[in-house]
Amino acid sequence: MLNRRTTEMMVFTFFRGCAVLVVLALIVLVGYILTGGLERLSIEFLTEMPRRANTQGGILPAIVGTFYLMLIVLAISVPIGVMSAIYLQEYESSSVMGRVFRLAVYNLAGVPSIVYGLLGLGIFVAYLGLGFSLISAGLTLSIMTLPLMITSAREAIAAVPSTVREASYALGATKWQTIWHQVLPYALPGIFTGIILSVSRAAGETAPLMLTGVAMSLQRLPDSFFDSFMALPYHVFYMATQSSDLLATRPIQYATALVLLLLVLGMNLIAIVLRKRYRDKYRW
């Protein structure tokens, strides 16, 4: 049999290999998209309308569409998410209701994104009559990101120690004054991290859009929330699988993927840095 030390060395080499492999996968993936996309990427590509069935020109409508979707998610998912988190963390006193809420949030987080697409199609597009539009897709994405939003905001609020609250009560502050002036300011960086992560998740999501009305090609920007729209992630999918000449448009596919990747990774990096600084600043 092998010596104990040799076994240990071999196993630890395997573990290190696993970790290196994961980081290598990230480097290879980002590297390929980066090198493939950079040659086509230019200011015109970002600011022009697509021409000739997307085979020429830029991807401006897709960028703007994704931007609008992010705005809708910000406007809907953030207030509801933060308010629910405050309620669950600071007000909820019955353990039964607390458990019901927790289970609902937990299970919502596990529902596949395509199922949210079915929900959006059934309720927003058909039942509420919003049609295949920006608002239907935005509402669908908002519901999809709600659990992530609630969980991260809740964690941020829970991290504020109860001594802060007790000190505030002792000085005669009411419950809401305590939350507004003491708890939320401390929790804010953590909540922001959660907001950025949720919105970037919504920006990269494709499947729900396919059921709620994303357009393959538009020569114009959406002029209302009830208009049809293009979106970056769907544009990557459409160009890579269904465009008229797959090989000839490959540079466009790479460049669109790169724009999406930079957008999402940029937001993720901001969130990671923000969280790190916040953790270093407050050590309770």
């Binding site: 629910s84 529902v111 079915l118 890579a240 993720n268």
Partner: protein, 308 residues
């Protein structure tokens, strides 16, 4: 005992009995916002049931669950057998799990037990970044690059195949697993490791006989959660696996998963047709499966949890 009294006190603080009226209003608003998440879950389930309901009467439900042919767009005799899609989902997810479990566990053990803080400061953000990459990018990579590599090595029947999807899904599963499993290992108190080392065990023996058993609930929950994510993933498998709807068990041939079937078929389906409702039924099956997987993860965490 002292701990219990403190908790009682905290609960009393939360009881909010004598709030001024405007504070009651705020509380009401927050309460309503919270209900929206429960309402959303109810809406998802209700909508799936409503959408799938007409399918229960128009097609034979036993045929749906046992049928081996998925050919919904046949003009005269459409066949709605979910088995090819179900097997496709299982092949891709289990294949991904087989690859991701050893790598993910190795990676979490290395991060939690062996890596120096400086190396960790690079690796952990890298894994978080990997978790944040949109699925359509993974799908694009699988479609354009990974499929070529697989074609060069294995000489597969179809260029886009189950293996392609499984490898790509494995890359997506690892970050989810690592975050949860590493947290669980970090929660194991140092004193346990020190006791083991003091008894003469090597570091690896300590990990194997102390750290892993002590964190087993978290590690298993991590695996189950990552698997659930793989089952529900749409874009990656849609772009990677080629979407042939035949029933087979060959990893080197094309398959279609349940998620991909919903995404693709809705492009051509007529609103309110039989096919439309059957797709909602597929969505319902998917919802129930992921619900059960989530439930399993919660149960494991509770059942095997060790408190320190």
């Amino acid at each position: 005992m002292a701990f219990k009294i403190k908790r009682e006190g905290r609960r009393k603080l939360r009881k909010n009995k004598h709030l001024p009226p405007q504070e009651k209003l705020i509380q009401l608003a927050l309460f309503l916002a919270t209900w929206s998440s429960v309402a959303a879950l109810a809406a998802v389930f209700g909508e799936l049931l409503l959408g799938a309901f007409p399918a229960f009467t128009s097609i034979d439900i036993i045929d749906f669950f046992t049928g081996t042919v998925w050919n919904p767009s046949h003009p005269m005799y459409p066949l709605y057998g979910i088995l090819p899609l179900f097997v496709g989902t299982l092949m891709v997810s289990f294949g991904a799990a087989l690859i991701a479990i050893p790598i993910g566990l190795g990676c979490s053990i290395w991060l939690a037990e062996l890596a120096s803080p400086r190396v960790k400061a690079i690796f952990k953000p890298a894994i978080e970044v990997l978790a944040g990459i949109p699925s359509v990018i993974f799908g694009f990579f699988a479609l354009v690059i990974l499929s070529e590599w697989i074609a060069a090595v294995f000489d597969p029947v179809t260029k886009l195949n189950a293996l392609n999807g499984a490898i790509m899904l494995a890359v997506m599963m690892v970050p989810i697993m690592v975050t949860v499993a590493e947290d669980a290992m970090n929660a194991v108190p140092r004193s346990l490791r020190e006791a083991s080392l003091a008894l003469g065990a090597t570091k690896w023996e300590t990990i194997r006989h102390v750290v892993v058993p002590a964190s087993i609930s978290g590690v298993m929950a991590a695996i189950v959660l990552a698997f659930g994510r793989a089952v529900g993933e749409t874009m990656t498998v849609l772009m990677a696996t080629g979407n042939a709807t035949l029933l087979h068990f060959d990893m080197l041939r094309s398959v279609q998963t349940m998620t991909a079937a919903i995404a693709i078929d809705f492009g051509e389906v007529e609103f309110g047709s039989e096919h439309y409702h059957v797709l909602f039924l597929v969505g319902l099956v998917l919802f129930v499966i992921t619900f059960l997987i989530n439930f399993l993860a919660v149960w494991i965490t509770k059942r095997f949890k060790e408190d320190y």
